[in-house]
Symmetry: D2
Subunit: 341 residues, 4 copies
């Protein structure tokens, strides 16, 4: 199938590669034409103006956007007038699902199909395949099945679950039509919320392991520092890289994120190359905000999100206020004097 | 290698089976002799009195305990007098690591080696192998290497991590000498703490997915219920079983726990056979208590733990007190009147 | 000063009473005219049609809305055409501050001033005075100073803070112009967020006190229930009503919410009249959502909010999924079998 | 009543002053005799050797310890041999209640009474009175009633709660016999746990207020920073000192901690003199650990505690691991590249 890809950054570029490898034809477009060159060398057709991209596609045209969420509305405004009824626009980036619902309504007036495709896989997708969460009209989704099937990991990526051998769902192949417009990014959003929670669970656990030797260290013994009840309980020098590797085999916590954790720790278990200022993209935030709107408790996902904010210093004022209160009621200078309350 | 196994419940029994299959000889002992019968039919030697078990083992004797944590001290008191210097006792259950440190000290006086082996794998271990986290003296650990190697999943259970191809660690085979006495159960404890956090992350995320259709439902419109800002944002009927299956392939959140989640949802995505009163065994509690003792933040693991307590009704009084306060300051009857504050 | 009050529910009615007592004249309007009668008997002027209310007010007219947030836009649409340039509309209810910013923009075109006034005090405001958090144009705020001064508690409500004796701020009298449009409800929103956190802190603490006797009770001893390490540590029969009363005097946790807690517990410390399904009005949700939007960590406020959702059963599916996972990996039936992991 | 006070630091010294003012006689003892001098000038009797303190007290002797928790066992070991049957030892410091239960058992063999008295009030107690939470045998508690009544704030410190006018409890006067040995420190422990939660609620809320102007600031616009959806929603320059002062009057969140917050902010609302490394004394930790042991959910109190740990850098390794994982799956460099998952 011939399709157009707008945006050839890391994600878009590798998706084109995987599609080419799967026998599809790709017309690519990027703001900076030079960034298309490697893909053109690998078999893609480059289209510097948007109109050229459109002209190179057969009807119904299939145009996939793999660009920053903030640019999607602008690019849709540019390309929609060039499209015809029945053409299909796909937003494969990280849009908020509210925007999908709005865009789909707007494009319906022009009879242009709009699909939202949440895409997981990161830099590994080229090799592992992309997990695709798809929202929009069934007809358009079915038309694109050959593309989805090529991009997705395929059935062999995991053993079948018992009782589902004949489910008939494409989920077994790694892509799924989740529901009407917005459903794809909704599911992807929650996926990332879960990801934040899992990452925090590992991070907290390995942090405890990393502190298992504090009973061997000299500790300050001022009144502001609670002493260890029994230092002999904290005299383990644990090899975190080995433990991560160990847990990958046969344990309940084995996962792909643990595989990556093991890689990271294998490169030096102090992780000194990282400062610990953890970024968050929008989906983690949107997941928690959506849970709040829906009245659904999500304390673990929220706590994981807030820990990232704190890692960037955003709790500093709150912390100073705590110290100020302690000073007011107890005369406590930070790290200097006696008990509380 | 010939070894003795005390306790032939689900875990102990399957470990014996895996050892037998691996060419070892197992002498088994259980409180109720009848429970040994199946294993005897499969090739184990049964020993009704403890003394018989001891007599059937060559020196240095290897005795593995696979019994409830609450029984370990009693059984050690019974068997230690029957053992000789150089013999090896292994606690493979779920003991608190403080108890390991104490027991090891006590048994050292009799020159009996004591190892703590945290064991993950559950009902799947027979087939997948057991992930073994080992604490205690190096010499005894090395002596038991053949047993550990048989019980563990083995190198093929996961692809090697880059940069570790020649690590020389047994972690790649699924077992690890983590450190001195207590280290095994310490690492297993934190493993389970992480497990709680991961499980909560999935549970919260799927719960959000399960609520994605609330905009299609009739909602009460009294002043005690915050209305949805826009019901159109919550009109998805998501197939949770398909989504769990989907995420197993190529997504960032793929894991063994997700494999199990997919199985559970495949059997009926309402999960009506479960009441939602979630038990917790000790390790999750000990992980958080240990984090507190060490001054290490573990908010996600703690929140996951407390959610289990709440699921069993332990927050009920707190909730009633919240309603009582609301009544006092605002005259709010539960589910009846107006705004707050 | 003569003013108009639309909405004479608990809050609006008592505010009219406090204004009348302070020498102001109030014209009242309500959807159900009968609800105005008590206030008319106490000296207010009743106005059944909105136009009458407007006609009874001198210019610049002052119209205060004390109605459910969901009705504010509709009432503004009804009354704005009846108002003239320079008139002042006040929303004293629980609107989202985003709506204030929008409404102020819309009304500016008609030269109508719009103020948002977050109001705390509940059923106690008539007696204690209302704490008023005000947003909008300075000129209009200053014009209304006599009303605010009457509604607020006044300087004597709390001793001055050192170093502020000549602050010149009305804060000492219990009302404050916080900033431009939206600032009043923004500050009120965060106020309620803090309130949720404080309430949860008391609720959790008293719940721990309520469980101080569990070592005296028979406990199930199955493998799904972690036993108490030492039951002697939990054999206190604490008198919660006495403790709440005690802490009101000289302790660090004394507060008005504690005063109310003491009242509630004095009426029967089991709180059996409450079911524990805790409602939440919008502000707690908006506080956390706003924190997320701003990238500010608010884990305590979020946790307090989510606990309310859980109290209403919204975690049930998540809890069932946790039990389902435990069943899958360990064969754990809810409340029946053995250890984890 | 004549009593002995061991330990004349800030707390012990001021308690002696309040007792002297109330007409009691105090014999004081301190490790550094020079520290007793001010109290001796104010009317106390100084006793350099412990034996002298004992000899200056009538039987039954009353000896109050106001010393660091870590020193209590040592001082009891020193003084107990000097005491006689029927004498009363009081630990007024911050001991763990488990230690009280043990000490009471040990001293019972010598027929010495042991009381645990949790004391709240900090540097304000001299003026406001101390809130006393008392555990131990009723007879000894009753004997000391005159001391407790003098130290406590007294009935006037707060208005009576309705329905308790004739409760007959000393709670109305600010002291309470909570139960047998350990009950006093148990209640004080939970008191401090609540204190942590309340402090965190204020800190988070004021932190949100402090960020209300971020829409007026230049923000980085790289892909690792989620942009504000609408910067106009965050353009408030709020006066935090005024808001704290405001809320002290008529609002739901008024409290003594808020009074202190207002003082702290009045001295400079940037709080620049504080670094934000927040200490924690033991009680907050013990509260959460006790909740875990009892199976009682305390997510807000735990989160508040962990925030203090994080403020001291104890989450740093966890944060680095999060960044490492993000790098592994998405090639994300800290603060540099594109979306997640």
């Amino acid at each position: 199938m011939r399709m157009g890809m707008i945006g050839v950054g890391r994600m878009g570029g590798d998706m084109v590669r995987r599609l080419l490898k799967g026998g599809h034809e790709c017309v690519v477009h990027a703001r900076r034409p030079s960034s298309m060159e490697p893909l053109v060398r690998e078999g893609a057709l480059g289209a510097a103006p948007l109109a050229e991209l459109v002209s190179l596609l057969p009807k119904p045209r299939v145009v996939w956007l793999m660009i920053p969420a903030a640019s999607v509305d602008r690019v849709i405004a540019d390309i929609a007038p060039l499209l015809d009824a029945g053409d299909i626009l796909i937003d494969g980036g990280n849009s908020h699902y509210h925007d999908d619902i709005r865009r789909c309504d707007e494009l319906r007036d022009r009879s242009i199909h709009y699909l939202d495709v949440g895409t997981s896989g990161g830099v590994w997708g080229l090799e592992r395949g992309y997990c695709l969460m798809i929202g929009g009209e069934r007809e358009a989704v079915q038309y694109l099945d050959p593309l989805f099937a090529t991009l997705a990991p395929g059935r062999g990526a995991a053993p079948d679950s018992p009782g589902r051998s004949d489910s008939g769902s494409s989920a077994e192949r790694g892509y799924l039509h989740c529901g009407p417009s917005g459903a794809g990014h909704f599911v992807k959003m929650v996926h990332n919320g879960i990801e934040y929670g899992m990452m925090a669970a590992y991070a907290e656990g390995f942090n405890i392991l990393a502190h298992a030797n504090i009973g061997s260290q000299e500790r300050e013994t001022d009144a502001e520092t609670t002493p260890l009840r029994d230092p002999r309980h904290f005299r383990f020098e644990l090899n975190l890289a080995d433990i991560a590797e160990l847990w990958r085999r046969g344990s309940v916590v084995s996962s792909w994120l643990l595989d990556l954790t093991a890689r990271a720790l294998a490169a030096g278990q102090g992780l000194e190359r990282f400062s610990g200022q953890v970024s968050d993209s929008g989906e983690g935030r949107w997941t928690v905000a959506t849970a709040i709107e829906a009245g659904v408790p999500a304390p673990v996902l929220a706590t994981a999100l807030f820990q990232r904010f704190s890692s960037r210093g955003e709790a500093d004022f709150a912390d100073r206020l705590l110290s100020a209160m302690r000073y007011e009621f107890g005369g406590h200078h930070e790290k200097s004097t006696s008990g509380e309350g």
